[in-house]
């Protein structure tokens, strides 16, 4: 059962992202904060670290492609970035301890890196003219904050789910 739960959660997070995006941007007096939900990639990073790198990269490719076609209309942006991030996450487990807190920080850092790459890309193709400081204050920091909060709330659940799957697999093997 847990076997099907893993892709199901990925689909659910994919569909929930735009719903949460509707709350953004948030206006304070003269400060605008864009909160970009990155739930799916955080989940995929967890899969990559705790479960299976190859699986995560494949999910990243599929969902990245869906993301590109449905939202961005530029094919080949997220469908490269998602697998790349998953790949780096999976590769990094050689060097880091797989503690939940460390994974959380790593995942958020990777998302921040991805956000920065996207900013550079959109700057390059003239989709945005946002100066860097504004990007940092208005987008990157709020996004990091919001996603960190999300992971702190649900990171343990991801880990629990993946552990359940690993246990199930072991049981079916013996």
């Amino acid at each position: 059962m847990v076997r099907y739960l893993i892709p199901f959660v990925a689909v659910l997070l994919f569909l929930l992202e735009p719903e949460f995006a509707k709350f953004s941007p948030i206006y304070f007096k003269d400060y605008t904060a864009y909160l970009v939900p990155r739930f799916l990639i955080l989940y995929l990073i967890f899969i990559s670290i705790y479960y299976n790198r190859k699986r995560a990269v494949i999910y990243g490719l599929i969902f990245g492609l869906l993301y590109d076609v449905f939202y961005i209309d530029i094919i080949g942006l997220y469908s490269v970035l998602y697998p790349l991030v998953c790949f780096i996450a999976g590769w990094s487990i050689k060097f880091i301890h797989q503690h939940l807190l460390i994974t959380t920080v790593l995942a958020v850092l990777l998302v921040a890196g991805m956000e920065f790459l996207l900013y550079e890309f959109f700057l390059l193709i003239d989709f945005t003219a946002m100066p860097f400081m504004e990007f940092l204050n208005g987008r990157l920091l709020p996004t990091i904050g919001a996603n960190l909060l999300f992971l702190l709330m649900l990171g343990w659940a991801f880990k629990y789910l993946i552990n359940a799957r690993l246990l199930e697999r072991e049981r079916s093997m013996t």
């Binding site: 689909v11 659910l12 569909l15 929930l16 992202e17 735009p18 719903e19 949460f20 995006a21 509707k22 709350f23 953004s24 941007p25 948030i26 206006y27 605008t32 864009y34 970009v36 939900p37 869906l66 590109d68 076609v69 449905f70 939202y71 961005i72 209309d73 530029i74 094919i75 080949g76 942006l77 490269v80 590769w91 996207l118 959109f122 193709i125 003239d126 989709f127 945005t128 003219a129 946002m130 504004e134």
Partner: protein, 303 residues
């Protein structure tokens, strides 16, 4: 990083080239989604629509609570305005009657003001928010076409940029896209003054109305509505209110900042305005470069 063999390196290079080609293909100013894209969009849109329903319901509850808390204040304010409305209503009634009579006299059946509303629900908002896009649950099967105006009860929010059979994509007025123009008019004291809403000032969070004739006089607080001259938008959809008037960069025309009347956060139910009078793809259009004055090519440009 892991060690690369020769073969891997070649695969990597080829995929980089493929990637660049793919990105540049999709970056072109495309008029229509390709067939596989349409299928993906419709399928994801369908699933998204299912998820959007309960979430819209929940956010609806929250905004319901919020408005409940404001009820007392709002009620007080509305009561004050109610009396004005009674007078206004009779006036509008008379004007409408007079207008109908005059139209009958002049054999003019349709006006730029008329439109058929298509009600649609927002099923998603582009989560990465680099482009200001929302996705609606109505598509070409429901009569939605590219470049149609999209509005809420309070005013214009954007226009349709891409249509698939069951979904459509809206680019909001808040955009950096320099090709995004909406022909607008300022309801000034003496006469209507025409201009183009071009772009958005990120620092002020306001729209920029450009190319206003510098001999015309406009003032702060005057209302800006769509002019209907762009070809596809109906006339008279409220856009916003002028907050500042200046001269533009070259000093030849005037420029004004417009505070949009619609609320862009938490959009849920929107109206797509299908103009009753024949629409042509003109200024608001897609840059098809077709000859719009010629009947035959007009149909092509109208896609």
């Amino acid at each position: 990083m892991p060690h690369f063999s020769n073969k891997k390196l070649i695969v990597l290079l080829v995929s980089v080239i493929f990637l660049v080609a793919l990105i540049s293909f999709s970056l072109r100013d495309r008029q229509n989604a390709t067939f596989p894209e349409q299928i993906i969009k419709d399928t994801v849109g369908f699933a998204q629509g299912i998820v959007a329903k309960p979430t819209n319901y929940i956010t609806g509850i929250f905004s319901g609570i919020e408005s409940l808390l404001n009820t007392y204040e709002e009620n007080k304010r509305l009561k004050m305005r109610l009396e004005e409305f009674a007078v206004l209503q009779t006036k509008v009634h008379n004007l409408e009657k007079e207008n109908a009579n005059l139209q009958e006299l002049s054999d003019k059946e349709q006006s730029l003001l008329d439109y058929n509303p298509i009600h649609a629900t927002v099923i998603a908002r582009n989560p990465d928010q680099w482009e200001e896009k929302i996705i609606l649950n109505k598509g070409s099967k429901h009569g939605v076409e590219k470049n149609m105006a999209v509005m809420t009860a309070r005013g214009l929010i954007g226009k349709i940029i891409l249509v698939t059979p069951y979904t459509s994509e809206v680019e909001l007025l808040y955009t950096n896209n320099s090709n995004y123009r909406v022909s607008a008019l300022v309801q000034a004291e003496k006469e209507d003054v025409y201009g183009l809403v071009e772009g958005f000032d990120a620092e002020r969070n306001e729209l920029v109305l450009k190319r206003i004739d510098s001999s015309k006089k406009i003032e702060v607080g005057e209302k800006v509505v769509s002019s209907g001259l762009g070809g596809i938008f109906p006339k008279g959809i409220p856009i916003g209110e002028i907050t500042e008037v200046t001269t533009d960069d070259f000093g030849l025309t005037k420029m004004a900042f417009v505070k949009p009347s619609a609320d862009f956060s938490l959009l849920e139910e929107v109206i797509i305005a299908e103009r009753s009078i024949t629409s042509i793809d003109g200024l608001d259009g897609a840059g098809t470069n077709n000859d719009l004055t010629n009947e035959n090519t007009e149909a092509e440009g109208d896609e």
